[in-house]
Chain length 369, copies 2
DNA sequence: TTGAAAGCGATACCAG
DNA sequence: CTGGTATCGCTTTCAA
């Protein structure tokens, strides 16, 4: 039935036409008489001919593939990223190559190599050196996701600083919290750098002293658990002390402005993303702490879980799928028109999502989970 | 420096040799005199020549790429899967194409198309129809991961039934639990089918009546939260009380039997994987339930988080990375030797991991052959 | 409209 | 050892 060994020449011979005609028919290009077309189509159908991708790619000098490079995929963020990227590449009949450089030392070389097998590469910010990015860019279209490229390498990213500042201000002003800690490693990725900056900005603009340093852990849920361990270990920094807290005889969620009566002010843990926030939440709940009464926790991303946990996680919504889709679009466009000017940088907007983990009464928000 | 437009012919001309010699030098095949080699190497270096992948692939009739197909990547399972697959493909200089068929209707066609662009395809069990698998298999090497292929399509999977039966028996016998529920959809994937079977087997071999039906949710953490909502809704099956949590006067985590003298036997929630177990755990803790005192929860996979949460999650360890690596190995071997007999099915062993969430005192572990 | 032929970039066989 | 050349499978001028 569908033997993959059939070539244009075979079909041409069987249909009694030239390979050029077969090509024209199978691609729908050029003019072909109805009679010829019928004969060719028949032969194609009968032998299950499908043009070979390599031959076609070689002739067209186009791979029909896009590359996606990231540090070490983990969690819903990369899930969304990949799916968004793929959903945009697929309609253009481009396949998706992936490369996780995680912990590998020769990743620059790997990426360069990938650049020779695809029509464009999207690199997640902070994954490879700027030098490698530059060299990659002069060999194939490149776009940086969630970061900034050197020179005129285009990038697509979501707003970070201002929204993290807004979130932090919300805790500082609306909930009158102090002694906030930041969980995340600013040196780990451009996104976290900006979020840390926003966190600091909020403090400074209010004349408050931010913590001297963040709790520098990774972006995975496990890292959040790790951070919780560090934070809640008896006798450690954050004013949360033991989880015992005051009796809090009151009923459920409602408590709006309870700040007044409570003697021991709960601390707040501002996490670099939802994953770590969830990890911290699990760590806190597992130790008998109550959120938000004993401890406030916030995230960033608005991952699927954020709206589902109890209490709902206050966070910043970021359009990750869109980010990746835009990146794919940039590459596709650049590949289609090699001479075009570099795409402009894209900055997608984010949105504050207030749920219960920050102490807000209910799911209000600019949002619907 | 590194212009990608240089071809063998260019180098040959510049070095004053034939293309054959350039090819020999750049591939290290055949014998070349030191003098020629030097000249060629120099030209290659000077112009930054790197052989084009398409030309090479066309000549070799080999793509230098492997495909990986899965339903909708999510969670640590797929993270491990992809990384294991890639770590095996990379040393063979094969790139990795991915395809998530999630929710798409034309996925069979997509997979067939992918089959024409790679040297072999690994398909996660339950992702595409057996028909499509069959057709794919007669066009390129195929291996099924975590499932079984039709006909002589090879597969690699981990043991499920016996280990889930062992885990269930542990709850039933060692902890004297009754009224276990199973969270997961047996119709969703071959793995879950087998785990459900093991769950049932354990009951029957002890002369106990298993629940009539599972709680049929997906495999993501959010699904676990959903299941928890369903299970712990007041008035529902599992004999657990309200989640409102009494005043928690005691110290931190350790708190023993505080739920009053309530002798109500805690139920047990056996989850199809760690992700959902974690979701259920979060849902339970968020409602003030104590694990394992009020409720026992178990998972499957031994994901990174399993050992980190409080309480540690009792589960079954599955070598996911190895699974994927083996799959890649099978494909690579098949691609290297087209005439070879189909690879035998591989069954990797799993291991029971007893932590605290089942009621066991401390971390201990046993293995099941 | 159709076909012959020239690539696309690299490999490998076969003489010399 | 080295070089000419056929080949891989398809697309695309260029004539007819």
């Amino acid at each position: 039935m569908s033997n993959s060994r059939v070539t244009v020449r075979e079909i041409a011979r069987l249909a009694g036409v030239s390979v050029a005609t077969v090509s024209r028919v199978s691609n729908g290009t050029g003019q072909v008489s109805p009679e010829m077309r019928r004969r060719v189509l028949e032969a194609i159908e009968k032998h299950g001919y499908r043009p070979d991708h390599l031959g076609r790619a070689l002739a067209a000098r186009r791979h029909g593939a896009l590359g996606l490079v990231f540090p070490g995929l983990s969690g819903p963020y990369f899930t969304e990223l990949i799916q968004g990227f793929e959903s945009e590449a697929m309609p253009s009949r481009s396949s998706v190559h992936i490369l996780c450089t995680h912990l590998r030392e020769d990743s620059d070389a790997q990426v360069l190599e990938m650049g020779r097998r695809v029509d464009g590469v999207a690199v997640v910010g902070g994954t490879i050196s700027d030098g490698a990015l530059g060299r990659l860019a002069q060999q194939t279209p490149v776009v940086v996701i969630a970061g900034e490229g050197p020179g005129d390498v285009p990038s697509v990213r979501a707003e970070n600083t201002a929204s993290m500042a807004a979130l932090t201000r919300h805790l500082l002003v609306d909930h009158q919290l102090r002694d906030l800690v930041f969980v995340g490693n600013p040196a780990g990725s451009p996104d976290v750098t900006r979020r840390w900056t926003g966190f600091l900005d909020a403090h400074r603009s209010l004349g408050l002293a931010p913590p001297a340093a963040p709790v520098p852990v990774g972006l995975q849920q496990a890292d959040g658990v790790l951070a919780a361990e560090r934070l809640f270990r008896p006798g450690t920094g954050t004013g949360t002390g033991t989880g015992s807290g005051s009796g809090a005889g009151a009923g459920a969620a409602g408590g709006a402005a309870e700040s007044g009566a409570a003697p021991a002010r709960p601390g707040g843990v501002v996490c670099a993303n939802d994953e770590t926030a969830l990890g911290v939440l699990v760590g806190a709940l597992g130790r008998g702490l109550r959120v938000p009464q004993d401890l406030v926790i916030t995230g960033f991303d608005d991952a699927p879980m954020a709206g589902l946990v109890t209490p709902g996680l206050t966070t910043v919504r970021q359009p990750v799928r869109e980010l990746a889709a835009e990146a794919a679009r940039v590459l596709l466009a650049a590949a289609a028109e090699p001479g075009a000017p570099p795409a402009p940088d894209l900055l997608l907007t984010t949105e504050l999502v207030l749920r219960h983990s920050c102490g807000c009464p209910a799911d209000q928000a600019t949002s619907t989970p």
